[in-house]
Structures are given as structure tokens and as C-alpha cells.
Amino acid sequence: MKLRLLVNGEPREADIWEGESLLYVLRERMGLFGSKNACEQGECGSCSVYLGGTLVCACLVLAGQAGGSEVVTVEGLSEQGRMHPVQEAFLEAGAVQCGFCTPGLIMATHDLLARNPGPTEAEVREALAGNLCRCTGYEKILAAVQTAAERTGT
């Protein structure tokens, strides 16, 4: 079937098999490799994207369900070649090691700060509970979120 989406502001079209996930379409049909595929069962959060403005695991959306909707991936956060402040904060804090979890964590942080510009640590932990990182031990990620909150909150 044919699938039409608005991805990062651009109308996109792809020929897909009906059983594909939105994640598969983004990566394998549209060449957007920012959203990562690790577990395909909603456990790791590395495939997090916005669907119609809502943070979701792209691996759990059947592609056709997203038809006609707006999707924003990590590739869509930067503006005019400049990284988003959340992305800069992750780099500066050393919150990125292998980087596999980073796109998902950046999406989840972006979503948290849009809803709650000054989160407490408990709120940050709750908001990022669905994103796994095997490298950093999370401390630097928590620090990066605080830095990003300070910069985007003002």
C-alpha cells in the first residue's frame, strides 16, 4: 500500500507492506536512521518520535495508523543546521557514549521540557523511565536534562 506522511515538515510517500511499523518505514523506506531499532517491543525507547505531537515508540505504531499524520524525528529538532539546546546539553554533559540511546533520550527530554519547563529530578526520572542506556549510568543524562531545562526555560 501507499503511505503518505508529513515527516519533519516535508510531505513523504512510500510503498510499504501493511505489517510494517512506523519505525521500519522511517528507517528502511525513508532513510531516516536517527530513530534507532533495538527491541521492537516498547522497552527501550530508542525509537521515540512525535506522532501528531505525541511522544510514541515508533516500533509500536503500525505504519498505516500514521497515514496523513505529522511525524517529527530527532532529525527534525535542529533548526537551520544548528543543534537544538537539548542536543547541545547532551554533548556538553558527556551524556553520550556509544550514542545508541541518545536520539530517543533527546526526544523524551524534548517532550518533557515542552510539558514541564522546570522539572524536578523525580519528574525527570519518571519522564525518562522508558528509555534505556547501557553505557552512561544515567548520571550525566540527568545533568544534561537540567542544563537543557535551564537554557530552554528562560
Partner: protein, 290 residues
């Protein structure tokens, strides 16, 4: 695989009647795991997300009709004041990403004994609105869930909504798991005080083939409250009665040993949760007196 995506209620029921084998999908948080792992390869998938009647909720005469497609996130943000027990349970589900997609209708569809939305529905005597081209029927949730992962839906039927009274008293939900998020319940307990009907509703989760209403425990504690005139006086429930309530709830559980916990741990733990949730709810009831 056929992808079916009707846009209104009439069309969705006609489509289900014409394709009874089609697997309904709303949030996809259960269905997609099966598809991604090739555990299931249905001939057709029926997307319900475009049907307004399944997405919406409404309120009339202090009763709510909540569309099957209301997500956990919406249950927390839109219904937290009207259905506090369900909102508490919703907060324990998965992660923000899962709560944003997963729905209460999907929890009823999957009918897992560990489904977190189910105990609050049992504790408030919710009715499940089931529809097909043949008409609409209302099934009490206790009859709707028929066993582990089975429910009373016929092949041409869909869950359109559930009906539930808005809370008239305190409600609680407590869940045991190895971490604060992203866990399937080892066991859980939902509890609701219904001061107007002088009733206490309770439901055990994840310690039996289905959620379980501990009817004997409910009757016992209602009797104690009545006998001591506690609905009026709002005095404390005697400690011995709380203990007995916990013990009766533990007796009502039908737990098994599995990877998440042993039967004896579960039986013990639901008794503790019952005592605690009743204490918390009763304390709130006492405070509400002002």
C-alpha cells in the same frame, strides 16, 4: 495483510462483521509486539483510531461513558478527578511513550490478569459497552473478562466504551513490581469507597487467572463500618478489622508461581496491599469531612 481503517462507528462495525478474523488495533502496544516478533500474522488488521465514538468520553448524571480508545495519559490528565483509582493505576503503566498510546480498551481486549486498568473497573462495577451490527450490549466487567487473555467478545464485536460511575469517595491503586516504572505487576490491588451506597469495592490484580473481587472481604468490612456507624462518625476503622480484611483478601487470591513471583509471596502481598489501600482511602475519607 489487509489494512482496514474505517472512519466512523457504522463503518467500523460493518467492516468487523465482514472481516470477523481482522485483528483490531488501537494503541498497538500489545498487537505490535506480536507482529514485530512474527508471533502473529493476521490476514487483516482493523485500525480503530480514526473512529470518534471510540476515542471520546462523556459525562451524564454522574456517570461516565469512556471510549475504549482513551489512553492512559488521557485517563490521568482528563479523568484524574472523576476516576482517581483508574488514574492512579494508569500512572503505573509502562512509560510516557506507552501511556501515550496504550488504551483501556486495549487492556480489556488483551484481558491479561496483570492488566492495570482492570482492578479499578472491577472496584467500581464498570460495564463494558460491546457493539456489533447486531446492536449494543452491556456486559459487567466481571463477566466480560472470562479467563487469562480471554474475554466475552464475539467475532463480529468491538469494545466501544466502558460505563462507570464517577467517584463519590476516595479510591486507591497499589502495585508491586521490581521498579517504579516499566513493570508488569507482580500483584496489585484496586480499592474504592462508595459512601453513598455504603459499599467498599476491591479487586485483586495479577494473583489469579483473572482479576478477582474478594466479595467476602468486601462484605466483612462493610459490616464493620455499618456496625460501628463509621460512614457517619468517620472514626478510624479498628486495627483488628483492617487485619481481618487483609487476611480475607489474601484468601480470595488464586495466585500461581511464575517468573515474576511465587504464589505464597503474592498471597501475602495482596493482603498487605488491601490493608494499606483501605487505610489510605479511609484516612482520606476522614480528612474530607473537613
Amino acid at each position: 495483510m489487509e489494512f482496514l481503517q474505517p472512519a466512523d462507528l457504522r463503518e467500523v462495525l460493518e467492516t468487523k462483521a465482514a472481516h470477523p478474523e481482522a485483528v483490531p488495533i488501537f494503541g498497538g502496544t500489545d498487537v505490535m509486539v506480536d507482529l514485530n516478533f512474527d508471533r502473529e500474522r493476521p490476514g487483516a488488521v482493523l485500525d480503530l483510531t480514526r473512529v470518534p465514538e471510540i476515542r471520546e468520553w462523556s459525562r451524564k448524571d454522574r456517570r461516565l461513558r469512556v471510549g475504549a480508545g482513551v489512553t492512559y495519559t488521557r485517563a490521568i490528565t482528563e479523568l484524574g478527578g472523576l476516576l482517581p483509582g483508574l488514574a492512579m493505576a494508569s500512572r503505573t503503566v509502562g512509560s510516557p511513550q506507552i501511556r501515550n498510546r496504550g488504551t483501556i480498551g486495549g487492556n480489556l481486549g488483551s484481558a491479561s490478569p496483570a492488566g492495570d486498568a482492570l482492578p479499578p473497573l472491577y472496584a467500581s462495577d464498570a460495564g463494558i459497552e460491546v457493539a456489533s451490527v447486531r446492536g449494543v450490549r452491556m456486559v459487567p466487567v466481571e463477566e466480560f473478562i472470562t479467563g487469562p487473555r480471554t474475554n466475552a467478545l464475539r467475532p463480529d464485536e468491538l469494545i466501544t466504551a466502558f460505563m462507570i460511575p464517577e467517584a463519590r469517595g476516595p479510591q486507591q491503586y497499589a502495585k508491586i513490581g521490581p521498579r517504579n516504572a516499566m513493570v508488569i505487576a507482580v500483584c496489585s490491588l484496586g480499592l474504592a469507597l462508595h459512601p453513598e451506597s455504603r459499599a467498599v469495592g476491591a479487586c485483586i490484580g495479577s494473583a489469579g487467572p483473572t482479576p478477582i473481587r474478594p466479595h467476602e472481604a468486601e462484605g466483612f468490612i462493610e459490616g464493620v463500618i455499618e456496625e460501628h456507624g463509621l460512614w457517619e462518625s468517620r472514626s478510624e476503622i479498628p486495627a483488628s478489622a483492617l487485619e481481618r480484611f487483609g487476611a480475607l483478601v489474601a484468601e480470595a487470591a488464586k495466585p500461581i508461581d511464575d517468573v515474576r513471583g511465587t504464589a505464597s509471596y503474592r498471597r501475602h502481598a495482596v493482603g498487605v496491599l488491601a490493608r494499606r489501600t483501605l487505610t489510605w482511602a479511609w484516612d482520606e475519607y476522614r480528612r474530607d469531612a473537613g
